[in-house]
C-alpha cells in the first residue's frame, strides 16, 4: 500500500496523519481525525454534504485527495464557533435532519466571506452546489440573506 505521513493544517491546528495516496480528504477527516462533521452523501461531488473550506474556498472533500492538501489551510465545521452563519441557521430553522447542514454552512460561510455583496444570482450559483432533501431551501435562503444583510449594515 502506498502510504504517506502528512502534516495537515486543519482548524488552526497542525495534525499528523498517515494516509494512502488514494485516500480522499473526506475519508481522512472522518476516519483518521475523527472530524465527522463533513458527511458522505455520494462520494461523487454531487451532494455537497462533505463541503469544507480549503484556503477559504468551498471544496467538496470527497473530490480531493488528502495528499493534495499539504500546505493548505483546511477549515471544517468543527472549526466554526458560534459564527453568524451558524446562528442564522438555528434562528431560521434552516435544517431538519441536519445531514446537509455542515456542508451548507461551510459553503455559505465561504460565500459571505468571499462575496460579501452577493446578489440573488450569485447565491443561487453557490448554493446550488449542495442538496438539502428535507427543507424547501427557503429557510436556508433566509438564513444566508440575513447574514448578508447584517454584514452590509456593519460595513
Amino acid at each position: 500500500m502506498k502510504v504517506h505521513q502528512l502534516e495537515l493544517r486543519i482548524n488552526n491546528e497542525k495534525r499528523m496523519v498517515v494516509v494512502r495516496s488514494a485516500d480522499t480528504l473526506l475519508a481522512v477527516l472522518r476516519r483518521n481525525l475523527g472530524l465527522t462533521g463533513a458527511k458522505p452523501g455520494c462520494l461523487n461531488g454531487d451532494c455537497g454534504a462533505c463541503t469544507i473550506n480549503v484556503d477559504r474556498l468551498p471544496m467538496k472533500s470527497c473530490l480531493m485527495l488528502a495528499i493534495e492538501c499539504e500546505g493548505k489551510e483546511i477549515t471544517t465545521i468543527e472549526g466554526m464557533h458560534n459564527t453568524p452563519m451558524q446562528q442564522a441557521f438555528v434562528e431560521h430553522f434552516a435544517f431538519q435532519c441536519g445531514y446537509c447542514t455542515s456542508g451548507f454552512i461551510m459553503n455559505a460561510h465561504s460565500l459571505i466571506h468571499n462575496r460579501p455583496n452577493a446578489d440573488n444570482q450569485m447565491m443561487k450559483e453557490w448554493l446550488d452546489s449542495n442538496i438539502c432533501r428535507c427543507t424547501g431551501y427557503e429557510e436556508i435562503e433566509r438564513a444566508v440573506k440575513d447574514v448578508l444583510r447584517k454584514n452590509s449594515q456593519i460595513q
Binding site: T36, D46, Y99, T101, K124, C134, T135, E139
Partner: protein
Amino acid sequence: MRTVGSSVVRKEAWQKVTGTAKYTDDYAFAGLLHAKMVVSTMAHAIITSIDTTEAEKIPGVRAVLLGGSYPLVGEAIRDRPPIAVGKVRYHGEPVALVVADSPVLAKKAANSIQVLYEPLPVVNSATQAFEAGATLVHEKLGEYKRDNEIHPPIPGTNIASHVKIRKGDMEKGWQECDSVVEASVSLSISDHAAMETRCSIAEIGPDGKIKITTSSQAPFMVKRLISQYFGEDMGKIVVETPLVGGAFGGKAAVQLEILVYLASKAVGGRPVKLRNEREEDILTSPCHIGLDATVKLGSDRHGKIKAANIRFLWDGGAYSDKAVDLTRAGAADCTGPYAIDNVWCDSYCMYTNHPYASPFRGFSHSELSFAIERTMDLLAEKVGMDPLTFRKINAIMPGNTTPTRVLLNNSNVGNLPKCIERVHELIQWDEGEMIALDERFVRAKGISCSWKTSTIDPDAPSGVILTFNPDGTINLMSGVIEIGTGTKTVLAQLLAERLNMDVNNIYVKMDVDTQTTPEHWKTVASRGTFMAGKAVLQAAEDVIRQLKAIASCVLRAPIEDLDVADSRVFFRDDPGNGVHFKEIAYGYQYPNGNSIGGQIIGHGHYILRGLTHMNPETGEGRPGPEWTVTAHGIEVLFDRRDCTYKVLKAITVVDIGKVLNDKAARGQVMGAMSLGLSFAGRETFVFDSLGRVRNPQLRTYRPLHYSEAPEYMVEFVETPQIDAPYGARGVGEHGLLGIPAALANALSTAAGVSLQKLPLVPEMIWKAKEHVRP
C-alpha cells in the same frame, strides 16, 4: 398557553450546526470490521456461478457470505432471501457480502468476486406483470410463509396482494351519471434519496447479546424481525438509533440490519459496519413505489360525483415487504377526499423485476392523488365546471363515509372546503386559470386536494418515560426517532405546556435504544406527535400526581389545593407558597434528616383505539384514526414552444388541527412540498429494456436544488381533532400529497393536453403534445 404554538428551536439545533450531531456512520471504533455487498448487475437472471477465490485470498478479508443458508425474510410475505439464492430478481440485489478489516479491503474484495448470470425474461412494469401469461417473478408464491391472511398473494400470478373496496351500488351509481370520464395514469419507481445513506453496525457478544446500531425509522421493528426471522431471543437484541439523516419512509424497511447481523455472526460476533454507497442506496435498498392506475369517475348534471371505479396496479418490485401495506393504504383512501357513495376499487400489489418498495412520505397517497386529481380535472371539464368549484361541491365532510365506510364527524376529518377557499384566494384563481403573456409564454395554475389517514397496525404502541434531575429539570424519553421532523422538540413543548414550565428545563434524549427507551412503534405516518404526544400528556399527569402527593405532605395541605407551574408545586390560592421540583423530585428531606418519597419517575403510553382490519371482500373497516385534508395550488410559467417551465408558486393549505410549533410545522410542510415537486417534476428511475436502472447516482438522479425551488405559501386551517394533544393533527407528510397532481393539472392546462405520466419533464410534455397534433 406559553409553549404550544411558538417556534421553539429544536433541541438538537446546536449539535447540527457544529458538526457534533452523530449519525450511524459517525460511530467508529478499534476492531470494527467493514462489510461490502456485491450486487446484481441484472434485473432477472439465473446465477450460474459465483467465484470468490480471489476475494478470499486478500489478506484482511474475514468472511465472504453467499445466499443459501438463511431463512427467507419479508414483512407481509417471507419472499426475500437476504442474499440472493440461485437467481436474482432485481438490478442491485445483494448476491454476496464481504467482511474485511477496512472499507477499502472490503471493496477490493467485493470487486474481485466474479458472478455469472444467465438472463431471464424481465417483468418491466406493473401493467406487464398483470398481463395474462406474464413471466412469473416468484414461481413458488403459494409456498411462502406470510402474515397477511386477509389479502393473500395469488399463486401462479405476479399478484402479491389484492385489496377490494366494494361500497354502495355501482349499477345505480353509473345510472345516475350524466358525464363519465376514464383516465389511465402512471408513475414510475423513484427514490427517497435521503442525504444520509443507510448504515448499520452489528455486534454479537459472547452471551449472545446482539447489538445493532442503525439509521432506521423502526429500531423496535428491527428487534422484532431479527427475533422472528432468526429465532433470537428478543431480550437479547438491543437496537440503537442515533440521529437519522433524513428517511422519508425509506428507513422504515429492515434490510441492512439483517445483512450486518449475518455478517457479524459469520465473524464470530465481531462488530461489523455496512454503509450503503449512494448507488447501493438507490438500487439495492428499497425505493419509492410506482403505480399504473385507471380511474373512471362519473357525475350527475349538477357536478355531484356518483360513482368511481378505480384500479391500482402498484409496482412493488421484486419483493413484497411493505408494498402490501402500501397497496392496502391506497385502497382505503382510494377516492381522495370526496364524498362518493358508490365506489369499486381493486388495488393490486404487483411483483416486477424492479427494486422493491418501502413506504414513501405520504404512504401511497400522493400517488393515488395524482391519479384521482387528474381525473377530477378531466371530469370537471366534461361537466363544464370550474375545477375548484367542482372539488368544493364534492368535498368530503362530517356525515359522509370514506371508501371503507367510516362515518366522519367534526373531529376525525378536517375542513376541506375551508382549505379550498384559502387556495382559491392565495392562487388568485379568479384572475383566470391561464394567462397568456405572449405567443410563447403562459402563466397557468393547477389545483388539487388530498387527504390521508394513517393505516398503521391497530395495536401500534407508543410510550414515554420522564425522570428528574436533582435540580428539578426533566428528562424526556420516547422511542420516536429524530429523523428531522423535530418531533422530540414538539414533545418537550407539549410537556412544558402541560406542566406550565420553561421548555428549556426539559431535556430530551435524542438517541433511541430499544432496551431503555419505551417503544414507539415506528417513526412513520405522521403519528409521532399524536401517539407519543398522548403518551407525554399521560406521563405528565403521572408526574403531577406524584409531585402533588409528596408536596401535600411537605406543605401539609390536601392535594386539591395544589397547583403546578414554573417547576414548582404551590398553593392554588397563594402561589408564593410552595416547593420547587428540586426539593421533592428525589424525595423530601426534613431539617432533622428524615426523608419521604423518592425519585419520581413518570410514565405514559398510548395505543390507538378502535382500528379494525379491512373486510377482504368489501374493504369495510376502520383503517386509521383521523383524516387530515389538504388543498394545493401551483402556478407555472410555461413555454409553449419549448415545453419547458418554471414553477413560480406552490401553495399548500392544510387543516393541521392545531399548530404546535409554527416554524417547525411550516418547515415540514414546505419540505414535503419540495419533495413532491422534485419527484413530480424530475425524479424517476430510468429503466432500460432489461429492467436495469440507468441513473443510480445523484448526478443523473437529481433531487430539487436551491435555485429550482419556487416561492412557497403555506397556510394552516385549525379544526381540532378532539382526542389529539391540543387538537393537533398529523402533518409530516401532507404538504406532499397533492403537489404532483397540482403540478400536472397546471401543466395540462398550460400545454393544452392532459398529462398523465410522471415525472413531468419537458420531453414528456413535448411527446404528449406531438401525440395529439393532427
